[in-house]
């Protein structure tokens, strides 16, 4: 691997640890009664209120439609994900140390697979919240489900929901993009060096 790419890989590994400092995702809600807005921050290890007690308020509102309360302690993924991130970061540093291109490709595939799995898992949670409703709920709108969007906006009764990556989420994307850039650069370099070698052989 090229020195520059190894530095970039180190940067990608460190950037990834930024998810411990910033939320991965943010779901914001606007309603006529909530001019100041409500919202939750989804972290690698927790779910928190954007303004104090927003989770309590959201749970309180959601009980009318029979949605399950948001209980961070009841989400096992929040306990596992910090280890996974540290693992990805540490493996990147080992790859850097060994300077092995094949291992690097393996690391990148693993990283992309785990990130995709996290998104799918996130979607399933949102689907479950939106569809798995208490049949005794006070408010029942035929045909209505309340699944928040994973990205972008949706109107759910009186509440406008907007879902966007947080800074932590962007850091993962950036880390992944650096990995892809290194991959492309390494493959291109390999081609040129092979070509150069062939040319050299032909000349001699």
């Amino acid at each position: 691997m090229k020195i520059r790419n190894k530095i970039l890989l180190g940067v990608a590994a460190i950037i990834l640890l930024g998810v411990f400092l910033f939320p991965l995702w943010q779901i914001r809600m606007q309603a006529p009664q909530y001019p100041e807005g409500l919202g939750v921050n989804i972290w690698i290890h927790n779910i928190t209120s954007v303004h104090p007690h927003n989770i309590d308020t959201i749970n309180d509102l959601n009980h009318y439609i029979g949605m399950k309360p948001i209980e961070p302690d009841a989400v096992p993924e929040l306990k596992i994900m910090p280890y996974i991130v540290v693992f990805i970061s540490v493996v990147a540093l080992i790859v850097l140390w060994l300077s092995n291109r094949t291992l690097f490709i393996g690391w990148l595939i693993m990283f992309a697979a785990l990130a995709s799995a996290a998104m799918i898992d996130f979607y399933l949670w949102l689907y479950d919240f939106g569809h798995n409703l208490d049949p005794d709920a006070a408010i029942k709108v035929p045909g209505m489900s309340y699944q928040p969007p994973i990205l972008g906006s949706r109107q759910l009764l009186n509440i406008h929901v907007n879902s966007m990556p947080g800074l932590g989420g962007y850091l993962i994307i950036l880390s992944l993009l650096i990995g892809v850039y290194i991959l492309i650069d390494e493959l291109r370099t390999k081609k040129t060096t092979t070509k150069k070698a062939t040319l050299h052989r032909e000349r001699s």
């Binding site: 007690h53 309590d56 308020t57 309180d60």
Partner: protein, 660 residues
């Protein structure tokens, strides 16, 4: 002043009075409205906030009403001295102790003078203080919650009109006697004396109440026993005069009956000037006497939020002889009323109810007169400074019945006139009248935004009128008082708004919104609720019997109570209903109302616990419900309590969403 001089001096004013009466009688107020400039000046668009809070004493409502200025919108009413069954103030176990006095539980009051707390002579937005004239008390309101947190009773005093004035750095609040009374021994000769022995046996007191700089908590520092005149109003000095406090008084005749005649005989009454710094030192030096004078101090415990009553036993009382060089009388024209100190502290102006001029004394001249011993005798050891020696000037043509003066910080004084019903603007250096504007009708206090501070905000002046009559749609014989907002930013005063206010505001204080709005408590943190009867979660709800006492630990959250079914209550029980609002969100109060409740309703703010006591009188099913429209299913927020005969064996059971 001889009657002839009086006529001569007041001649101009009488003509003005006549003109004013003709104007108010003939010209339609329409000339004032329909003014588009005025409309845009007072217009606060939907969703926007006013520039100032105006705190108005409610007079006989016993409370404080809060308005937005310039819109005149009524924002809130703060319960202070009057029980408020709508939210439970003065009824619930948490608040009722605030209204205890040495006379017992006094459920109402007569609020007069509002004074905000100050730092370096300017408002700091922390607290406001207000007096009850009838049962001498001072209340402190916290401006983070707009709640009455403390009420202190003032002993050895009566008709406490002359209060609650605040010193430059809120070191002291002053509260004084208007109606002199006999004092217990050893201060006086006992309290059971003939009324006709007024001159011999009656006394006035000046009280200086120490304010804790951190918590705002009040304690009587000391009292000064003074001659039995009617101490009417007062103000602490500012800037150069900040170590002094000034009080007006009438009834130097010492009349005790038909005061309207008998207390209006002397040509001059007095202003009392006290150097409170020196008086404080005298008290600290142990001068005067510690007198047994039990008084009540009520404080909302900062930990639990529950008001508690404490009886204090003694006060230190100083006599004028203990305050040599620190207490003086200054003559003032006949029956002065208001007294106000200019922003720099140099000018002290009084309104004379029966005078035609506003006298303005100079603080510099006063200190010179004290140095030169420029006196004309003394009363009970209090030297009287010569009127001419301390006078800066008299404002001629100040109108008839000038009552109060405020200042705009641009070198102008403004006085209100009760009799000629107008506001008069004059130059603070010379006393030359610059402008006058009729007011509808009979202005009492007037207020300039920040008009009693070192740096008045100016811009707005409010006339607090005593007579309403035809200014609004009539509401039978009883009406709200009418206030008038003037724009005073130009050379000429402009009347821009009439707005009705509840009660009879005696005075008001305007505080910039920016000093108050950012620090507002939106709800109370449930995790910090230290009420001993708090219920933090629905799992913790319970009903506990101890003999004939039953404690109900209930929660309220949208849109149900827990428990909402209770059985096993019996006739003869005393039921303590402790309701905790477990919401943690701004502006989601829950109410609690129970059929046949003899006490009051309750309004419970998020995170708070409120307790009402209920003694069911007969068997039956008693529904209860939430009185604050909290949610779409607010109607459904209800429950039942079953009351059985005293000898019944129905078991104590309770719950929500289950059959008992």
């Amino acid at each position: 002043m001889s009657p002839l001089n009086y006529l001569k001096n007041s001649g101009v004013s009488i003509i003005i009075l006549a003109i004013t009466l003709i104007m108010s009688g003939c010209s339609s107020p329409k000339s004032e409205i329909g003014n588009e400039d005025a409309a845009s000046e007072i217009y606060v668009p939907p969703g926007k906030h006013d520039e100032f809070y105006s705190f108005m004493s409610g007079g006989w409502t016993g409370n404080i009403s809060v308005y937005g200025i310039p819109s005149g919108r009524h924002l809130y009413t703060i319960p202070v001295f009057s029980q408020t069954p709508t939210n439970g103030y003065g009824y619930t176990e948490e608040t009722k102790a605030l209204l205890n006095t040495s006379f017992g539980f006094v459920p109402w009051g007569d609020t007069h003078h509002i004074q905000p707390s100050k730092t370096n002579g300017d408002y700091d937005g922390r607290w406001i203080f207000i007096n009850d004239r009838n049962t001498p008390r001072i209340a402190r309101i916290d401006l983070k919650t707009f709640r009455t947190d403390e009420i202190i009773e003032i002993p050895n005093t009566a008709g406490q009109h002359s209060s609650a004035f605040v010193s430059s750095n809120t070191e002291y609040v002053s509260a004084n006697t208007e109606y002199s009374i006999p004092l217990p021994k050893p201060l006086g000769s006992g309290v059971d004396v003939p009324i006709a022995s007024y001159k011999k046996n009656f006394h006035g007191t000046i009280s200086l109440i120490k304010v804790d700089q951190k918590t705002g908590q009040m304690d009587i520092g000391f009292q000064i026993q003074v001659p039995p005149f009617d101490y009417d109003l007062g103000r602490f000095g500012l800037g150069v005069s900040k170590d002094w406090v000034f009080y007006t008084m009438y009834n130097t005749e010492q009349a005790h009956t038909l005061l309207e005649v008998n207390a209006s005989q002397n040509d001059k009454d007095f202003v009392l000037a006290v150097n409170w710094k020196k008086a404080e030192q005298a008290a600290a030096d142990g001068k005067g006497q510690l007198i047994s004078s039990p008084y009540i101090h009520n404080l909302r415990n900062p930990e639990t939020g529950i008001a508690e009553t404490e009886t204090k036993e003694q006060v230190r009382v100083l006599k004028p002889s203990d305050l040599q060089g620190a207490i003086y009388y200054m003559p003032a024209p006949k029956s002065p009323h208001g007294i106000n100190v200019s922003p720099d502290g140099e000018y002290i102006s009084e309104g004379g109810k029966l005078s035609t001029v506003v006298p303005v004394q100079s603080f510099t001249k006063m200190t010179n007169a004290i140095q030169n011993n420029d006196t004309t005798g003394s009363i009970q050891g209090i030297p009287i400074l010569k009127y001419e020696s301390v006078l800066a000037y008299e404002v001629k043509d100040a109108g008839l019945g000038p009552l109060h003066v405020e200042y705009d910080g641009e070198g102008h004084g403004y006085n209100s006139d009760f009799i000629s019903s107008e506001i008069v603007k004059w130059d603070l250096k010379t006393g030359k009248v610059l402008d006058r504007h009729p007011a509808y009708y009979s202005t009492g206090h007037l207020t300039v935004a920040g008009g009693d501070t070192r740096n008045p905000y100016g811009k707005y002046l409010i006339a607090l009128n005593k007579i309403t009559k035809d200014r609004y749609l009539p509401t039978g014989p009883e009406m709200f008082a009418g206030e008038q907002l003037f724009d005073i930013s130009g050379d000429k005063m402009k009347l821009i708004l009439d707005f009705p206010v509840e009660g009879e505001p005696h005075n008001a204080a305007e505080i910039p919104a920016s000093l108050i709005d950012s620090g507002q408590v939106q709800y109370f943190k449930l995790s910090e609720n230290r009420n001993p009867y708090v219920t933090r979660t629905e799992h913790d709800t319970k009903v506990v019997r101890d003999g004939k006492r039953v404690d109900v630990y209930m929660t309220a959250i949208r849109s149900h109570f827990t428990p909402d079914n209770i059985e096993g209550i019996k006739v003869g029980d005393t039921v303590y209903l402790h309701v905790t609002n477990i919401e943690q969100e701004w502006d989601i109060p829950h109410g609690f109302a129970l059929k046949g409740m003899l006490n009051s309703g309750m309004l419970i703010m998020p995170g708070e616990t409120r307790t009402n006591v209920w003694k069911p009188q007969s068997p039956g099913i008693y529904p209860f419900y939430c009185t604050d429209f909290c949610s779409a299913l607010h109607q459904e927020m209800q429950g039942y309590i079953r009351v059985s005969p005293a000898d019944s064996d129905v078991k104590l059971t309770y719950g929500t969403n289950k059959d008992l």
